[in-house]
Amino acid sequence: MLASRLLRRLAGLVATLFAASFVIFAAVYAAPGDPAVFLAGGRDKLTPERLAQVRSQYHLDEPLVVQYGRWLWDCVHFDLGRSFKYSDQVADLITSRFPTTLQLVVYATVLFVVLGVGAGILAAVKRSTWIDSAVVGGTTLAASVPSFVAAIALVSLFGVQLGWFPVTGSGEGFTGTLHHLTLPALSLALGALAIISRVTRQAMADAAASDHVEAARASGVPERDIIRRHILRNALGPIITMCGLVMAGMLAGTVVVETAFGISGIGSLLVGAINTHDFPVAQAVLLLMVTGYIVVTTLVDVVHPLLDPRVKEARA
């Protein structure tokens, strides 16, 4: 039962990846600009002969489907190829940069979960008071600031003027990394705060309106326990789902923040790859992002029924 479900999941995952990889390949291929121009070297090298030679060397003169087939064949043999831009292996490029992006996303997730869920609970508990309004207003404001604007503002205030945080790089060691990634993570997390706090607030309001909460309250269970055991527990489903989705989205959304803070992560690798038509790198990074998204959302799906027995029963 469980095995067949997992198998179905896995098959779905592979099919999705396959479809995504083709769409990505075609999209990168269709982007304006000629990769051979970047591959040929200096401008004085841009003679038609040299460009033709470069195209054939990198198989760029073959039809899209053939190129895709070639890539796929290597890929199932665990070979992501060599970067056009860097002579390095694509796998090496990604392994050296992925941890930074992952740390950034995890840090941002911790921030938006703690602050967002906290603010949502606060707003739900103090519903219709000034605290509620302040939370809703504050988070709306935070969400309306795009992350690159937040990044620039945070850098100029806490980095350049006050000098509390470093403005570039990803740092070394645990405290160093924490120190370096605080501002980038904060700018990433700001936008998510409003969504998460709003979802938390609403989910808790819904849970609070259910009959068994009324019953518990009538039988004299202390309010604190009611909130923790009955309301929050029942509200967790939508909250976790939303946190998962937002986190998954962040895996693909670190590009801007990485550039603003001079962090060499997956995002900046992708931008460079797209600008220079570095097909193997762009393809691999985008696929990694898609995979990350699928994995995180699948995990949320798996965790959800464990938290809420009702979901498990409904599925069974």
């Binding site: 121009v37 004085d44 841009l46 860097y86 850098v155 403005v167 570039t168 790089g169 550039t259």
Partner: protein, 550 residues
């Protein structure tokens, strides 16, 4: 035999962030122009060197505008890679901060006749793995550079044979005398690799985790892909010992780069984009030095529309407000200029070249006078004004946008219509290579630099069969004189010829000069020593870096 190299870095770096951040007009470049007070372009003082350093320094943090693609300059040569590797790898000749060249790993060079160059390999030099540098390494390296698949192959177009003719002697024979060959040996074509190490690394040579295979004052200590590159003083270096023990390179673009320098997270950078330097002007704790470079801003006309007529091109050149471009597009950190190559190209006969440049200012004024405009209008009247608007090709980077607008208003001043066509940066580079891509434009807002300090490295672009001669300029005398200059080994005679072809090139408006772009060194005010000129790409600049106070 072409010798030009792109400055793709400043542009592409600017672009990456521009594409990302421009959406809201917040790119670093934009804030840059308004950051510091604009410099007065006319008074910009260019000096090749900085004050000599006196004190030791344990570690310097240096910024690049991008991560190097590779540390094998034969397969992938970029500025970022050169800035690092020039401290690690040595060349047969060496470009000096004043842009002259001298024999270097080739201790002596003799020319028994015009078509023969005999190099004596320096004795007592060791590679960073401790092995001795031999004539075999030199010959092997030269042959690797000359391989048609390698970046420097075009420098060897005139070479007939390269042979080891003694224990420490390499003899190179040419099909025709080649005045630029020894200058190429001061560039990437002259790097001497450790044959054994390069061969052992194979395809991975130059990628993170590999050794350096060189003999310079610094050895490559490590390259953490995506993070940093570290070089360290080489204990057994044959020459003077550098004052700075370790240099750590990191990279950032636009505003991130500016902020890192502002907050002291980095000690210095060679700013490839004038706007970066401009944003850091009068920042506390930072010094700026400007030096000669071969880079320039130019307009490259095509044979498509109104600019096909040389008279219209001359009129445009006369009416262009170069000072305005320098001030509003580049914070005053470029200089109105009347030739298509910067003064860093004057590796010999400097005074002659300077005088010739000044003479040409009549046809390319910094600010057009009433006389210039009248003359320009006459030229347009003579030629007959084209009916179609002149299409100006550009991308959306700040500097180019300003130049494009200046071209349009210059055209207006002489009664012509201009129209700006902006394309994404990824596409912009194609204008240079693909005649089909530029089929819709009449003039390209371009930039250019040459890797060798010799104006003759540029003027082959005006040859009637050159791929970069887009207007179809044909002049048998010009072609003859260029070829003659390229095979004239005597500097004084070559300078005379160069000045002649330069005048013909500018008069014909094959390209229209706009400004020269000096190189800019931004450095902590506690440090000094590295050159300010473009030599930083080919000269071990970090070897001179140190504390101001001993």
């Amino acid at each position: 035999m072409t010798t030009t190299r792109t400055i793709s870095r400043p542009l592409v770096a600017g672009l990456t962030a521009a594409t990302l951040l421009t959406a809201a007009g917040c790119s670093g470049a934009d804030t840059a122009a308004t950051g510091g007070e604009p410099a007065d372009a006319a008074k910009l003082k260019l000096s090749a060197t900085t004050m000599a350093a006196k004190g030791q320094l344990d570690k310097a943090n240096w910024l690049l505008e991008d991560e190097p693609d590779s540390l094998d300059l034969d397969t992938q040569g970029t500025s970022a890679g050169r800035v690092v590797l020039t401290n690690v790898c040595e060349r047969l000749y060496q470009l000096q901060p004043d842009m002259t060249t001298k024999p270097f790993l080739a201790e002596k060079a003799a020319t028994p006749d015009d078509k023969t160059l005999v190099l004596t390999v320096r004795d007592g030099v060791t590679f960073h793995d401790g092995s001795k540098l031999t004539a075999d390494d030199v010959l092997w390296s030269l042959k690797r550079h000359a391989d048609p698949d390698m970046e420097q192959a075009d420098e060897f177009g005139n070479v007939k044979s390269m042979k080891k003719t003694g224990d420490r002697e390499i003899t190179i024979r040419f099909k025709a005398p080649d005045a630029l060959f020894t200058k190429a040996l001061a560039g990437d074509a002259g790097i001497v690799w450790n044959k054994e190490q390069v061969t052992a690394a194979g395809k991975d040579f130059g990628t993170p985790g590999q050794g350096d295979a060189c003999s310079g004052p610094y050895a490559l200590k490590g390259w953490k892909s995506g993070d940093s590159i570290t070089i360290e003083r080489y204990g057994k270096y044959w020459g003077d010992k550098p004052l700075t023990r370790q240099v750590v390179f990191r990279w950032a673009s636009d505003s991130a780069l500016v902020n890192a320098l502002k907050t002291g997270a980095a000690d210095g950078t060679y700013a490839e984009s004038p706007n970066t330097a401009s944003a850091l002007r009068s920042t506390k704790g930072l010094d700026q030095h400007y030096g000669p470079s071969t880079a320039s801003l130019v307009l490259i006309p095509t044979a498509r529309g109104g600019l096909k007529d040389p008279r219209i091109r001359q009129a445009l050149s006369l009416a262009l407000d170069r000072s305005g471009i320098a001030k509003s597009g580049y914070g005053g950190l470029v200089q109105p200029w009347a030739t298509p190559v910067g003064s860093g190209a004057w590796g010999y006969e400097k005074a002659e070249f300077a005088a010739a440049q000044e003479k040409l200012e009549g046809s390319a004024p910094a600010t057009p006078s009433a006389d210039d405009l009248a003359k320009a209008k006459d030229l347009v009247k003579d030629a007959g004004a084209p009916s179609d608007p002149i299409v100006i090709g550009t991308d959306s980077s700040q500097g180019r946008t300003v130049v494009a607008n200046a071209v349009r208003s210059a055209l207006q001043r002489v009664g012509l219509k201009g129209q700006i066509k902006t394309v994404p940066t990824a596409q912009f580079e194609e204008f240079y290579s693909d005649p089909a891509a530029r089929a819709d434009i009449d003039v390209l807002v371009g930039d250019w630099y040459i890797s060798k300090a010799d104006p003759m490295g540029f003027y082959d672009n005006g040859l009637s069969d050159s791929a970069n001669n887009w207007v179809g300029f044909k002049d048998a005398t010009y072609d003859k004189k260029v070829r003659q200059a390229l095979s004239t080994l005597d500097d004084a005679k070559r300078a005379e010829l160069a000045i002649d072809v330069q005048k013909r090139f500018v008069d014909a408006g094959v390209w229209i000069p706009v400004a020269q772009v000096p190189s800019a060194l931004v450095i902590s005010d506690k440090l000094t020593g590295p050159p300010a000129s473009q030599a930083y790409l080919y000269y071990p600049w970090a070897a001179g870096l140190g504390a101001k106070k001993g």
